[in-house]
């Protein structure tokens, strides 16, 4: 009894994995597992709000497809940024910059030498 009473006071909140949550929403968990998940969710406002919202979906099977779609879009977005950054990196490759500087220096140097010789 005392151990059970302790549950009311403690905020146990190990992270809940998505698969278990989806099974819960589709009514696939045993009563015991349902209770276990509910106890984990109730103390965290984020989890509690999410559970309430997810229960509003008419077809619970759709949820996974929606999540997958959102994740694919997200991946595309973050990868695009990365490719752009890589392109930028390539443009400013340090070897390229050094080569350009050397060529420029050589050009200036040869101009000065030719100029001096012509004057002399």
């Amino acid at each position: 009894m005392k151990e059970d009473l302790k549950d009311i006071l403690s905020n146990l909140n190990p992270e809940i994995d998505q698969e278990t949550l989806l099974q819960y929403l589709q009514g696939k968990l045993s009563a015991q597992d349902q209770h276990h998940l509910e106890k984990q969710m109730i103390d965290d406002d984020f989890n509690a709000d999410a559970l309430e919202g997810l229960q509003k979906f008419k077809d619970k099977k759709n949820i996974l497809a929606l999540v997958d779609q959102l994740n694919t879009d997200l991946k595309k977005r973050t990868e695009k940024k990365k490719r752009f950054r890589e392109k930028l990196k390539l443009k400013f490759d340090s070897n390229l910059i050094i080569a350009i500087i050397i060529i420029l220096l050589l050009m200036i140097l040869s101009y000065l030498i030719i100029h001096k010789k012509m004057q002399g």
Partner: protein
């Protein structure tokens, strides 16, 4: 869902990786962990599946833009705050009144208070006493949930309350129990 190859990296570590190289892919991996929860939160406030999906996409964008601007200690609560504010802003833009929060007083008890409650030796006797002072619905729901380990569904079947009522009786009952307990342990600190 398949096990992800980044599962062993904590939220904090992902944030640190992002801070180190500014590669948004880290934030992408981090956000993916919360897509389902975000979808739930948006659905709770907006009550429409298509709007909830759009809202999650906007929250992703907002996070990608703003995550570098702040020092974030605990990503999950920061994300929840961003998501909730975004939903409320959308509701306000639509002219809908934001729903009154049931959990307005959530977090009123501080971590120190909680520790004090848990370690106090008389706590458990007082807790039983306090349990009897709750109103009948809350008392019944709290006992069935925490002591008899019933699920919401089972409690709903036994008591005739709706699932939403069960959840709110448990949440409010628990909150009231904490307040009652604090009053019993420190009778002079009610106005604190």
């Amino acid at each position: 869902m398949k096990a992800n190859r980044y599962d062993h990296i904590t939220d904090d570590e992902l944030l640190n990786l992002y801070t180190a190289d500014k590669n948004q892919q880290w934030i992408g991996i981090l956000l993916e962990r919360y897509t389902l929860l975000l979808l739930g939160v948006c659905m709770k406030y907006l009550k429409d599946e298509t709007e909830a999906r759009d809202c999650v996409q906007q929250i992703f964008l907002k996070v990608l833009m703003e995550v570098g601007k702040y020092r974030i200690d605990y990503f999950k609560s920061w994300l929840y705050m961003v998501a909730k504010n975004h939903c409320l802003m959308r509701l306000r833009d639509k002219g809908t009144k934001a729903p009154k929060e049931l959990s307005d007083y959530h977090g009123a008890t501080t971590e120190v208070d909680k520790q004090e409650l848990i370690t106090h030796e008389k706590t458990y006797d007082l807790l039983e006493e306090a349990l009897n002072e709750l109103n009948e619905e809350q008392r019944q729901s709290v006992i069935l949930f925490y002591l008899k380990k019933n699920s919401y569904q089972e409690i709903s079947e036994k008591t005739g309350f709706s699932l939403m009522q069960v959840k709110s009786y448990i949440q409010n009952g628990k909150r009231n129990l904490k307040l009652l307990l604090q009053k019993k342990i420190n009778p002079g600190s009610e106005g604190k």
